[in-house]
Structures are given as C-alpha cells and as structure tokens.
Amino acid sequence: MLKVTFPHIGNSYIPFRSLLTELGMEPIIPPPISQHTIELGTKLAPEFACFPLKINLGNYIEAIEAGAELILMAGGIGPCRFGYYGEQQREILADAGYSVDFLVLEAPKTHPFELWEKIKHYFPQHRLSNLSRAIHLAWLKAVALDRFDRMANQIRAIEIVSGSTTRLQKDFYQQLDQAYLIKDIQSVINHYHKELKSLPLKQGVLPLKIVLVGEIYMVLEPSVNFEIERVLGEMGVMVERTIYFTDWVRDHLLFSIIHPSWNRNLKLMARPYLHNFIGGHGLETVALTVHAGVNHYDGVIELAPFTCMPEIIAMQALPAISRDLGIPVLNIIIDEHSGEAGILTRLEAFIDILQYQRKRGIGGNNLEAVSRH
C-alpha cells in the first residue's frame, strides 16, 4: 500500500487517518510537533516564511523518516502565501535530497477536473462510492471532534477537578482515532459526550469570556499556540474559538461554490474598519472582533504567525475597534523564537486586567452579570 502523509493541523489527523485508510492507502501520521520538528523545518525554510510553512516541513521530514512516500498538501489561489506553500515545499525537499512524491490538492471550485484526475492517479480505490463512504466517515469524526472541543472550552473554565476536562478530551481523541466502524464511532461519541456533560461543575460563577481569533493554523494547532485554550480554561476563562476545521471545510470548499455570499455577514460586520477581502483570515479577524465587542465579551485574543500579511492588516484595525466598542484586545505573534514563559506572562497580565475591569463594573460581560444577580 502507498504510504501517505500530510502536515499536522490541530486534531485533523484523526479524520484524515480514516479518510486515507478507507481509500486504500496507508496513512503515516507525522510524530506530534515537538521542538525537534520546529528545528528541522526552520533549518530548511527561508527565514521570513511564515511559521506554519516551517512546521509543515518538519512534519514532512519526520514522516519521510517513518517511511512516507507521498505527501498530501492543500493548495490555493492567493493572495495569502499558503497557496504557494506546496510548490515551495516541494522544491525545498527536493533540493535537500528527499525523494518523495508531492500531491497538492487544489480547491474543487477553481480546479475541479484537475483534482479528480489527481485522485484517480494516486488512489487505488477511487470509485465515487468509496470516496463518498470515506468522506462520510471522516466527516463524522471531524464534526464530533469540533463539537467536543466547543463544549470542552466552556466546561473547562468551571470544572471542579482541575484538569478533568483535558484528560477526558485526550481519551476521547484516542478512542475516536481507533474506531473504524460507524457503529463504534457513534458509541465512542455518545459515551464521551455523556461523560463530558456529567463532569462536576462549579455553581454560581460567571467566568470571563474571551474570543479567540486569528490565523487558522495558529488557532487550531495547540502545540504552536502553547495550548492557549487549555491554559486559559484552567485560569477559569471560557474560550470561544472562532475557527473550527469543519466550519472551514464547509465554508471554503462547499459554501464558496453553492452559496457564494456565505460571508456576507462577516463582510458587513467588518465594514467600518475593513472594506474588502484581504486573504487568509484577515476579514474574519476584524469581523469577529466587532462581534465580540457588540456582544459584550470580556476580551479578544488574536493569534498570528510572524510576517502573516492578512493578520497584520487586521492588527492595524484592532486598536480602533477596541477603542470604539470598549473591548480589550491582545495580539500574540508567534514564531520559532517564541517562549512559553513570555506568552504565559502576557496572558496572565491580560486576564488580570479583564478581571479588574469586571470588578470595577466596566467589563464587557457586566451588563449580563447585573441582570442575573
């Protein structure tokens, strides 16, 4: 069987493993991202390439060492650099002496036939029925993961036994990864969702609510954002992550074809500060910060890799939104030199400010707090 690998992004390796297995390939999951992975990637990548490109490279090399023969990567048509990652990574790996096939999957909207030709060429079981079954299975897992994460981010802030949500989350990932039949998958999902809902919770507390926006890779990949969701949750903060893998697939691969105005609301929300699409998640970052301000959240944290073009433009708008809508915003820029202690200190200071504001009655959630008590 052809040994196939793909770069890590958050927990998406779980649905991808099912997808590839169902299509008759042997998935090689790169080892979890470590300092070593980052070093491998940084050594080969150009200095000012964004951080995700470097980590991807590290993933590839570790997967090639584990025997991978084909790399799967997504493409794009700009203006964000992500669209050209695949081509550049292919050249970098070839020049560094790695012999490996590289398959860049372009979006079905722009290159429908090319995509199908490529799938036919590489995948042994490429009949439509196999494909739809594989996608169904993977989608089931992806949706379950996102639903679990969404709930876990709410519950972690008010759990009584510190760390219980995170432990459950890890078990769930592992069990779901090992389930291959639809029946098993369903029972794993049901079991763990029930467990999560029955965790003992603190009563009568109103935790701070923070919206997490930014570049998709930095938001989704806990090993590069220093597990920001867990850290904030354990500080007693409810985190509302704005980017989920299934949402992204739905919006960009499906809605962009059948429902072209899917992002109309986002555009309207961003309008006072940003008038058009700027690539990546720049528009979303601006729109969702406005959303957080209007809906009286306590704060917004923006995550971006160093030199990310769309996020820099968004960053220029955030102080104005913060001033106009009275919402505190923290931006965190991450690259291979970021240290955990530095990020933690900034997060703690930010949370302290939010708590102080809440106490003085000028925090975002305050209106709600008054009406409840």
């Binding site: 150009p46 200095e47 000012f48 390439a49 964004c50 493409g75 048509i77 700009g78 203006p79 964000c80 650099r81 669209g83 050209y84 695949g86 081509e87 550049q88 292919r90 050249e91 970098i92 020049d95 860049v104 500060y273 940003l274 008038h275 058009n276 699409f277 700027i278 690539g279 990546g280 720049g282 160093f306 030199t307 990310c308 073009m309 769309p310 820099i312 433009i313 960053m315 220029q316 708008a317 104005a320 820029i333």
Partner: protein, 312 residues
Amino acid sequence: MKIGIPRALLYFWYGHIWEQFWLTSGCEVKISPPTNHQIMNAGIESALNELCLPIKIFLGHVINLANQVDWIMIPHLIQVQKDAFICPKFMGLPDIVSLAVPSVRGKLLLVRVDPHHLNMVDCLCESAKQLGIAPGRLGNLKDSFSKMVYQPALEMIHNYQSSGSPMNFSKLRIGLLGHPYCLYDACLNLDLLQILARERVYFYTPEMVPIEYQGIGSGKLPKKLFWTTGKMQFDALEWLLNRSENPVDGFIHIAPFACGPEAIISDMIGRRIQKRNKPFLMLNYEEQSGEAGIITRLEAFVDLIKYQHIAC
C-alpha cells in the same frame, strides 16, 4: 482642485499615467517629493510596527501631502493583471491609511483597480466621476496612457545609467530583482542604484524585460504564481539567464524586512540562480538599515564578480 499623488509603492509603474490623467482632466497635481528621512519617520511613527517599510513610507507620503492638497489619491490595486494580486497589503491599503492617519480620512480619493475593472484609465475615470469631472473626453486617451506604464521607473534607470558616457561602464552586468518600490526608492534602499552606477556596474531590472519575454519565465513555474511583482521577477530571471550576448554576471535581490511574498519568491529565485552557478546577493531593508553595512556587502559582491570576470 488640487490632487496629491504619493510618490511611493506603485507610483514607479503608474505615476505618469496618474499625473497626466489628472492634468488632462483639469486638476492641479502635486506629487510628494522623493522619500526623505522626514517622510519615512513620519510614516514609521503613524504605522503599526508590524507593517513593512514600503507601506510605512507610503503613509509618510500621505502625511506629507495632507495639508497641501484637496484630495490624496490612494491607489487601491487589488489586481492589475488577471488572476494575480499584488500583495494583501495593497488590498487593504485604503483601510490601513484611514486607520493609521485618521486625520486624512475625508480627503482620500480612491482609485480601485479590481478583477472586474483591470484598465487603469477606466478606473481613474470612475474616480473622476466622484469629483464631478466628466470623463468622456478622457476615454480617447486610453492608448497613449497605456504606453506610459513603468515610465517613472524606466526614466530613473535612464538617468542613472546615462550619468556617465557608455565608455565609463565596466563590463560588469548585474540583474536587480525586487519590487519597484524597493528598487527605485533611493531612501529605502540607501541609494543602491547610485552606488552601482558609481561602481560602473550596468544593471537590469524587471521593468526592462522586453515584451516578448513577458510571461515566459513565470509561465515555466509548475503552478501559476498569483503575485504580479513575483511574476515579473521570474520573467526577468528567465530573460537575464538566457541572454546570448552580454550575459549577466550576478544577481542582487532586494526586499523589505519580513516581506510576505518575497519570502517565497526570493527563495525560489535563489534556487534557480544557484543551479546556474551565478553569484547571488540578498539584501533586506528595514528602518534601521545602516548605510555602511549595505555598502560593504555591495562592494564585496561587486569585487567578487569583478574577479570572476577576470578569471573567466
């Protein structure tokens, strides 16, 4: 009515078109002076730290013009070529300007060039309508205008290279690659072109690529590139690497610090140059760049290719 045009970013491509258009439509035109330290520092102070130097310089020019004109023309260049952007920052430029320099918000005159309106003159006519100028008689000038693309840049090259008689030039030839606003802004690149002219080196830039070579180099890429300035650099590379007479001796790539597209372009260009065994120098500029450091590296590079030239 007085219209201000910032001498920054793609002014070096479209400057003459913009100037002639507004003059023909009966406006007074004020072009900001070539970048100086005062302009650069004003821009740096107003902008977000993370922005790249060319955008900061553009903001400096906007501030410079603010009190002298009625309208400041902001080119909103989403696409100037089919299926290719320039850079996300050009797409957000009007918003960046109005957020960084709120005081000019009421004076901005946007010229939006997007996939549906790729012709610069049509887009200028649209903006002229905003000012109440009937564009009817301007439409006829389209052809004469479109010949003026790249003119500011080419004129500058001509000035540098004709400052001495042709006899003065040594036989050294260098390919200069980079964005126009890096190559032709003497304040940003610390007078790189002047230094090269002084060293009697003949240089080629992407704007000099003959029309029959346009689209050849970038067409050879395995995937269509989606940045116009990147495409031009690949075209220039193809042209310069395959010249039968007067081959170039080396390449210099100049980019602003932390430039997004250039991180990919310069790396891929560097690989291609290396495969052809040509010397390659990469210079990154930011607001703290020191002249001495750049000159030393440049002189060392020119010395290197001089010796290579003699040795061959």
